[in-house]
Symmetry: C2
Subunit: 380 residues, 2 copies
């Protein structure tokens, strides 16, 4: 049904009406005092969401832009970088660093698994790395690293930790200052509940020291230019004014709901979804709930039923968009987002729709058991 | 009056209601076939607006991002770059190139003046440069370079021309293929009539050859990744979906009006404004109309009247935003945009409002002469 689209992908995520309407206002001058006041509020609220006392920079870019902003402000040709790879996005860190001339080693795990902190400790004992990159919530698999433990190991080894929080910040607890994350990035079309086009980065003093040795940092993503601007409630280059109108409204909503409540909501929905899917006899890519992201759940199709069939029925019959797997996981899994502007009602909607589709496609199971499990989960 | 804002700055520019409403739609998946169809249309229409047969890349970034995308895909440490500098934005090219380790020489002219093509010819005869950067319409002064002549000289010398068309493309005639511009960039919040957050770049085969020698090109602004994606009606990283909804609508409007008519409209409004301002006894920073941009007009305040007073009265009394000068031109000039979604009516509004403000501030002149001149200009 036209305009009845419900996004259950890991981004873009659904956007609240008040955010869409804020975005639809006529732009104002990005150098006006009116806009400066908006930036003041936005920058303060970004620090709240990022749970940091350090500046949070905002770029007009996708989340990959913020990843580039991290590496291109830290790496010189010939630097040693270790990338901890859970999937596609963990691998993107390695590609970016290699592109700027770093020598990149990797610890790679199978899809759905997470990094064993002991392996990191051993690797860092063998060789000194300037930078270690990792992913909090791996969007391509739905696995979640133990960032707190790993970043402590990285710090103890004297390296800088660079963390992709694109699908975790504002959805799952991540405390850069407390956990010792040196650089943390995120993007707008995820837990922030606004359309794509803004990305964020925060760096601590340890990272700044490494940055100071960077010979040719990115111009557009310049940390120095952004720090100067943030402190003047400005932006170094033209701000994406209307996306920032949207962000202002979304951050107000986030503050009103409260981070703790938001984290609990994501946990409740993701775990409720996982229980319901398992009750339907489906296999999940991430086996252990303690390694599961609360933003995205990867599901294997039942034997004899194809991922494209499931996805196309979900879209055609119910206007629900779920994501395919990426690269070698294409058509092997489908991915269901519970990220951002997603409610208890959406859990019921998603599970009952998927049950209907699977029954329609001939999957033999106890039809209704998924929804029953979700209902019991919400009522427990 | 609240919500009565009229932007007469060189960006952001006014946005048509149909574009704002297109942008306010719920986002859709950026990897969906529905979005791919939108990209197919957008990429084709961008080629129309850029008057090129080459691919036009689209970045989620400000215009400065596209400038960075040009230099960071061409320059290696130690390369020789010549920057032709009319003002702030001409100088930005030099800063970007120097940041990436290039040896940058400059030809700099006084504010309001333009580059003499003979000076470029002589400079290029003295020394071989890999890249020459220049600005079509210099946003900080309102001066316009003779890009066609200069780019021919650059080509004859065997260098690559890199042109800032941020406030010219889709407002003033610029023909990269015909004029031999090797790299041309622009931004969305200008003639494109959409809010800031998208930027564009097109490069020809000569530029691609130089790119192939670039050792560490930008990851986020990668030409290779963007070329591959454009040809698949996709984007390499998450697209700024809602800004692209806006762009789709704006490009349809541009095609409907027709580039020739749009160029004529910008010329009519800019020259009408210049005649009217002169009739009021005001001095313009760009003396000669043939060197004047049709996007932006820089005006010196009458003696004894300050730029801040003019700007604040324009805003407070009439909700019209005009820009201050930048850097050393701050408070020395004010800048009036006639860029994008601007009509004949707006010329009358701007001139009559400015006349009222100047009279209110005690400037002695033939009150009404500016508007009379504008009326006669439109009726001639």
């Amino acid at each position: 049904m036209k305009d009845k689209n419900f996004l259950m992908i890991p981004g873009p995520t659904p956007v609240p009406e008040s955010v869409l309407l804020a975005m639809a206002k006529h732009p104002i001058g990005h150098r006006s005092s009116e806009f400066s006041k908006i930036l003041e509020e936005v920058y303060a609220n970004l620090k709240y969401v990022f749970q940091t006392e350090n500046d949070v920079f905002m770029f007009a870019s996708s989340g990959t832009g913020a990843m580039d902003a991290a590496i291109s402000n830290l790496v010189n040709e010939g630097d040693d970088v270790l990338s901890l790879v859970l999937g596609n996005f963990g691998n993107r860190w390695a590609k970016i660093a290699a592109g700027y001339g770093a020598n990149v080693d990797k610890i790679t795990v199978n899809a759905g698994e997470v990094i064993n902190p002991e392996d990191v400790k051993n690797k860092l004992a063998e060789k000194k790395y300037k930078i270690v990159t990792l992913t909090h919530s791996e969007t391509s698999t739905g696995a979640k690293n133990d960032v707190k433990t790993i970043c402590q190991i990285i710090r103890d080894a004297g390296s800088i930790s660079v963390v992709d929080g694109v699908t975790s910040v504002s959805a799952m607890d991540v405390k850069p200052d407390e956990w010792g994350i040196d650089v943390l990035v995120s993007g707008s079309q995820k837990g922030f509940m606004i359309p794509p086009g803004l990305a964020f980065l925060t760096a601590n003093e340890r990272a700044w020291k490494v940055h100071e040795e960077c010979k040719h940092p990115s111009f557009y993503f310049s940390w120095d230019a952004h720090r100067k601007s943030v402190r003047e409630n400005s932006t170094p280059y033209t701000a994406a004014v209307n996306l920032i109108f949207a962000l202002q409204e979304a951050l107000r909503r986030i503050k009103e709901e409260g981070l703790e409540n938001i984290f609990a909501r994501h946990e409740r929905l993701a775990l409720g979804l996982r229980h319901s899917l398992r009750a339907m006899g489906l296999e999940l890519l991430v086996k252990d709930d303690k390694n599961a992201s609360y933003s995205i759940t990867s599901v294997l199709p039942p034997e004899g039923i194809s991922v494209p069939d499931i996805r196309s029925h979900m879209t055609k019959d119910f206007d629900i968009v779920v994501a395919n797997g990426q690269n070698e996981l294409k058509d092997k899994i489908f991915r269901m987002g519970t990220l951002g502007f997603v409610s208890d009602r959406d859990l019921l909607t998603a599970v009952s729709s998927l049950e209907t589709v699977l029954a329609r496609l001939g999957y033999k199971f106890d039809v209704g058991i998924g929804t029953k499990t979700a209902i019991e989960w919400l009522n427990k």
